[in-house]
């Protein structure tokens, strides 16, 4: 490199010198006839070329930075907060205390219900009354009200102990421009109104027509006492819905009714069967009153909250025999439960208390004796506390989101999974009056109407409420899980499931795959490179190296296919033989080496080179064949006949596996001990012998050491078992067909050529005079390689390893095909994994543009990019330093 610089500089000088000479008078005289000026076109071309090439060259930097910046730009909106889009406030002419509100998904219409049955539908942005209807409650006063998740079906409880059901919803239709009726009243620049219908122009030129739908059902007598709390749910399937409601009267009696609607396919008739049961009475002390009741959609459990700070859970799975399953205090002693709601999906119970705290409980199977069904309510999350008592909680229909209102008029929108307060609004006007709040169905606005008919609505936008850095990289306690964990599960079968976006299992999988790949790849590639560079003939190297380079270009999809459809089933069937092979092949090579040492020098000299190398290959093939044949015997002796059964931990002990794992370590220990104790004496003795005799002695030494190592390894393994250590459950566990062993092995196959070529290049660039010097002073080639060449090339070798690691981290197709794609976090070499790259390849084609999943996958790509960027930059810096040093030597 340095040379070229000099050339360039030199040539430029040359140019200017030439010009100087041109200006010299003598030459001018001599060449008067011809103009010596450079033509303009040449100069122009020169400049254009210089600019184009410089800009083009720097474009590489732009490309790298551009990729990084673009990925960042896609990811950033996900971590940004939401934005408030404005609010409206209007006074509605209700004349009655408002007890129930509803709003449509476009935030166009709202409905309020008064205590005596007046339903007013109004235009949300302007507060204009659109239509009104009077429900005839026959003189009774509403004392409790509840609605389903979609809010269009409402149940009222009355002071005379009756309940009534009503529909208060919205109807949306599309009207084309041609069919628009005349005589519309303008509401605002977007909406027009006529006869209780509101027309909104939508992008395609058609109009969306919205109108209120309301209907009141007949009354049903439930109790003799006023109803104080009620909950109403719709569950079951679409074809066979289950309507259920629970009531608590002023005496504390809890009743649950369930109606099954059966549709007769032939006649289209609906038959409704309603059953009502009275649950065991609440064990309430005097002066304690019930504040809320909740029922699950399938009517299999009910939860009652009281102002003594307790919640009571009923087990209704056997509907004819309801059980009071659990009584649990939430929050501090005597702090009343003031509001409760289920989040969509009914897995999480949100409890708001008098002191402003908001807690989320899961019903988990803990096997406890304290409850009748072995499950209990466990506090999973504690959200930020509100300044005053929580008076109202209302859940969103689509996300795990809810709105909480406190006694001081604070209105908070909270996302439960990501545990963040998305928005903090505040009521204006008289904040002490009671109010009802709701989140609009698309989770993009909150409406609140006070008892006096004062309506306030806030509009907001938050596209990615479920993702925070904590969600991405921390432990989150998800619904249905026993404890906070790292989970990746971006999509699920049901809509109400929580998306789980922890990148940790994916990063873990990436590192696990790369780790096992490097275990195979690093030693093989390094040793092969050293051998090629230092010990084989130039001619052999000229053929071996291109072969390895060719391997580098093998499409990984091919490797993945072989791994998954050929290798994985084979390894599964012959796992014991494969394990044996890991011991047998190195042992076979050692036997070969010691046998070679025993040969007389004449033969050794003659057949050194290609024949010896072929012998090495032969030894590998033979030992692999032996391992294949002895595999079953090996399995019988060590693993009770079935390795796969052994890994599950049901049979045998951990000894045999630890014995194998510890074998190399024990050999090293034994060899080290031998060298420390009698190494010198042994060398001296060897020196006095003739070569083949010395070889025999050395082989004996090795055999002795080998058996000593076997014994030591087995002793240590037995000892470990004795003290209770079992590798199963750790890095060995139950066997899956597509596992890290297969992936590691095949990925090593993909990475080896990379490391090999780079290492070989590094070793090759060690100046030959160092080698010559070392050999000239009498060192053997082996000593030269180990103590001169390798240390000099160490940084280059290190950089090669890093680059190999970088490649393993980003490898996609092999992992997609052979790794089983289970995002689990265990080091078990026999289990599958899912890497960042595989995850992207699997999920991104399905992800909707700009959705949360899309952005999280871009974040996965960014993570991958930054990981490899770091590794590669480090490797390149080390390499540049190494090259500079190698030139100086």
């Amino acid at each position: 490199m340095a040379d070229t610089t000099r050339t360039d500089a030199h040539s430029e000088d040359y140019g200017t010198e030439l010009k100087n000479q041109q200006s010299a008078a003598a030459i001018e005289n001599r060449l008067r006839q011809r103009s010596m000026d450079t033509r303009t076109s040449v100069k122009l071309g020169e400049n254009v070329a210089r600019w184009v090439i410089t800009v083009g060259g720097l474009l590489v930097i732009v490309a790298v930075l551009g990729i990084m910046v673009f990925l960042f730009r896609v990811v950033m909106p996900m971590l940004a907060g939401g934005e408030e889009l404005g609010s409206v406030r209007h006074q509605l002419a209700t004349d009655q205390d408002v007890i129930w509100i509803n709003g449509d998904e476009f935030q166009t219409l709202g409905s309020v219900v008064g205590t005596e049955g007046r339903v007013i539908t109004f235009h949300v942005p302007t507060g204009t009354e659109v239509s009104r209807e009077e429900f005839d409650f026959e003189g009774a006063t509403v004392t409790a009200v509840s609605g389903t998740l979609a809010r269009d079906r409402v149940a009222f409880g009355f002071d005379d102990g009756t309940v009534r059901f009503a529909t208060i919803g919205f109807d949306s239709q599309s009207t084309s421009r041609r069919n628009m009726p005349p005589g519309l009243t303008e509401l605002d620049e977007r909406d027009r109104m006529l006869d209780g219908r509101v027309f909104t122009e939508v992008g395609t030129g058609d109009f969306r027509t919205l109108s209120a739908v309301s209907e009141l059902g007949p009354s049903e007598q439930i109790s003799e006492f006023p109803i104080v709390a009620i909950d109403y749910r719709v569950g079951g399937t679409r074809e066979r819905p289950v309507l259920a409601f629970a009531t608590v009267d002023s005496e504390g009696a809890v009743r649950v009714s369930r109606s099954r609607v059966q549709l007769n396919m032939m006649t289209g008739e609906e038959t409704v069967t309603t059953t009502t049961v009275e649950a065991p009475p609440l064990p309430l002390e005097d002066g304690v009153s019930v504040t809320a009741v909740l029922l699950s959609g399938n009517a299999d459990r009910a939860v009652v909250g009281a102002d003594n700070g307790f919640v009571y859970r009923y087990d209704l799975r056997n509907f004819d025999d309801p059980q009071l399953a659990e009584r649990r205090r939430v929050g501090d002693e005597g702090v009343a439960v003031t509001a409760m709601t289920f989040l969509s999906g009914e897995e999480s119970l949100v409890v708001g208390s008098e002191d402003g705290s908001i807690r989320v409980y899961f019903r988990l199977q803990t096997g406890t004796d304290e409850t009748t069904d072995g499950r209990e309510l466990v506090r999973a999350r504690t959200h930020a506390s509100m300044p005053a008592a929580v008076v109202d909680l209302s859940e969103a229909q689509r996300h795990k989101e809810f709105v909480a209102v406190d006694a001081e008029g604070n209105v908070w929108v909270i996302h439960s999974t990501s545990d963040q307060v998305l928005f903090e609004f505040a009521r204006s006007g008289d904040v002490t009056t009671e109010s009802s709040a709701m989140i609009f169905p698309r989770s993009n606005g909150v409406m609140l109407v006070s008892q006096g008919g004062e309506m306030e609505a806030w509009q907001y936008r938050n596209r990615h409420p479920e993702v925070t850095l904590g969600v991405l990289f921390g432990r989150i306690w998800y619904e249905g899980y026993d404890e906070p964990t790292f989970v990746w599960q971006s999509t699920a079968a049901v809509d109400t499931a929580e998306p789980k976006y922890s990148l940790v299992p994916l990063v873990f999988g990436t590192l696990k795959a790369a780790f096992y790949a490097m275990i195979f790849a690093a030693p093989i590639a390094l040793m092969a490179a050293v051998y090629t560079s230092e010990f084989v003939h130039r001619g052999v190297r000229a053929t071996v190296k291109p072969v390895m380079e060719m391997m580098e270009a093998l499409p990984t999809v091919v490797l993945g296919f072989i791994a998954a459809l050929v290798l994985a089933p084979f390894v599964e069937e012959w796992i014991a033989a494969v394990l044996l092979g890991f011991i047998a092949v190195p042992t076979g090579l050692m036997i070969g080496a010691f046998a070679w040492q025993m040969l007389p020098a004449r033969i050794v000299l003659r057949y050194d080179g290609m024949p010896k190398f072929l012998l090495m290959g032969l030894s590998i093939v033979v030992t692999a064949w032996i391992a294949y044949n002895l595999g079953p015997l090996f399995e019988d002796v060590l693993f009770d006949g079935s390795f796969r059964a052994w890994t599950t931990g049901r049979i045998g002990t951990g000894t045999p596996f630890m014995f194998i794992i510890l074998l190399p370590l024990s050999y090293m220990a034994v060899a080290w001990g031998f060298r420390r104790s009698m190494g010198a004496a042994f060398s001296a003795k060897m020196r006095t012998l003739e070569r083949h005799v010395a070889g025999r002695l050395d082989a004996l030494r090795w055999l002795a050491l080998f058996f000593a190592a076997l014994a030591l390894s087995y002793t240590v393994a037995s000892f470990l078992t004795l003290i209770g250590y079992d590798p199963r459950g750790g890095f060995v566990d139950s066997y899956q067909q597509r596992n890290a062993l297969v992936v590691g092995f095949v990925m090593a196959f993909a990475v080896i050529p990379n490391i090999y070529t780079l290492t070989e290049d590094a070793l090759n660039s060690v100046p030959p005079h160092l080698r010559a010097g070392s050999l000239a002073t009498g060192a053997t080639p082996w000593q030269t390689a180990m103590w001169v060449v390798l240390p000099t090339a160490a940084s280059g070798v290190f950089s090669a390893m890093m680059m190999g690691f970088g490649r393993a981290v980003g490898e996609t197709m092999i992992v997609v095909m052979a790794a089983g794609n289970t995002p689990i976090m265990e080091w078990n070499i026999f289990s599958g994994l899912r890497t960042l790259s595989a995850n992207i390849a699997i999920e991104l084609p399905e992800a909707v543009k700009d959705s949360t999943n899309y952005r999280v996958l871009f974040l996965a790509a960014l993570t991958l990019f930054l990981m490899t960027f770091f590794i590669n930059t480090l490797a390149e810096l080390v390499r540049q330093r190494f090259r500079k040093r190698a030139f100086q030597l």
């Binding site: 010990f535 091919v558 000299l605 006095t688 082996w782 197709m813 590669n872």
Partner: protein, 592 residues
Amino acid sequence: MTDIIDPKAPASGASAPIATAAREAVEESRPQGRRVRVLSADLSAVGEPALWAFGGALALGIILIAAFLAMVAWNGFSTFWPKPIAQVELRDGTLLAGEPTRHNRFRPGDNVLATLDDEQRAFVEANDGFSDRTLYKTANYDLYGDDFRWVADFEVAEVTYPEDFHLFQRQQWGDFVGRVAGLVIDGEPREFDYRLMQREQSAARARFNEIRRIEQREIGALNHRIERERLAIRRAELRHGADSETAQRLIAEAQANIAAHQEEFAELQARVNEIREIDRRYRVTLEEIDGRTVDTELSQIVRFYPANALSFLDKLGIYVSRWWEFLSTEPREANTQGGVLPAIFGTVAMTMLMVVFVAPFGVITALYLREYAKQGRLTSIVRISVNNLAGVPSIVYGVFGLGFFAYTMGGSIDQLFFPEALPNPTFGKGGILWASLTLALLTVPVVIVASEEALSAVPRSMREGSLACGASKWQTIRYVVLPKALPGIMTGMILAMARGAGEVAPLMLVGVVKLAPALPVDGFFPFIHLDRSFMHLGFHIFDVGFQSRNSEAGKPMVFVTTLLLLILIVTMNASAIFIRNRLKKKYAGGHF
């Protein structure tokens, strides 16, 4: 590698014990005078075991490559060779017929052993609890619900190869193994005759291909025109407003055209129906080994042969014709049968397009690094960037390609130039253009590195000569350096193509599909459709191997596709390496 170690030349002082030992050895040897050249040595200085480990690693690598290539080659080349059909009678009396596909050894589980009779158990025990088994391709998926069956040796009573068994490759439902039970030619039942059936079958296939041609070419062209008119209506509405007179006129015109096209369409459809009518009069009844029959039109049979009555030449003929079918036809049966022509075409087209982008970018950067830049911090950063481009996982390029090229750039193009097709994206989705741009980004380091090498191999004397003659720097590069470096740069291109052709992961995000409805190049204006998605050999492997109903049934196809891809890539690489080596030789003493 010499093993004669003169005791006078002790091992270098690598470690203390060796050094002391060596010194002792030297001292001992001194008084012995002429007996100095004893062939003894400290064997540890030679490091024989370590050498074997090192050499073993290299040998292992080579063995693995060889085994891998051999396996792919064997499986790939043997797939299309017609195999005999074995009729296997099991000990329990069941009969089955199929092509033996592969053998292996297995260890029957205890639950299997429990069901065996004594004789069988003795057989297994005599083999140390093992048995061999054979996988038979029984085919007849429509009758059996499966294509394959394992048969263990201890189950088999007798294996025969009856001559009247045929293998039928069908247009649908995969292969059929069985006999011909009845033949209907032009509505009349006829006696089975191989020659007759063969003649009629090729006639039926000709009819079938005629229908295909009409449907694909002519009806396809019509559909294309109708779609164009529909877009014209939309464009008129958007440009002139739906109610304007111009728009109304244009719309009326387009609608008239559509009506005309639809008439043509009806005519073509009638022709197709006519041929179909004839087709139905030529039928064949196939009978499987248990006597169940399947009745099908003769035109549905792609190929058939009496597997057990073939001469070597017959087999060779079938082998060649199956290879030809593979290379020249479209896939069928969810890609597990038929050919891969669209995939070959897609791979080649994408790679070629990629080279168009990658070549100037790579060469310019190399020129910058070698000829223009002052070596310093900036070039160091450029080199780090190049290295990073080479090291960034390919899937990240796919993500970038999807987000930036397809959605951002493509989305803008759609809005500017194809508003009438919205919300259906034209360029705003994966397509061959974006795929090749993405891969160009991915392979540019290969070209840069190779071009740099090529530029640096041009002897300095040539440059100096040119400059001395008065050529400017660019002129020198243009007329002296680049022509000299061209073969090296070409090597880089070939390597980049090999890399690009084998890459699959990013393509999965930017436009590769399992079955492309149309090739990116066809007879309709503008002939080259850069927005279309395409098929790719690498993705074909992934798709057939992992996403088809039965991976075992797709396996032969995967192996053949793998072989094809490998041949493609190995050829490219080998030629690149060959060119490079020749260049090295040429420039070894390249100063003049």
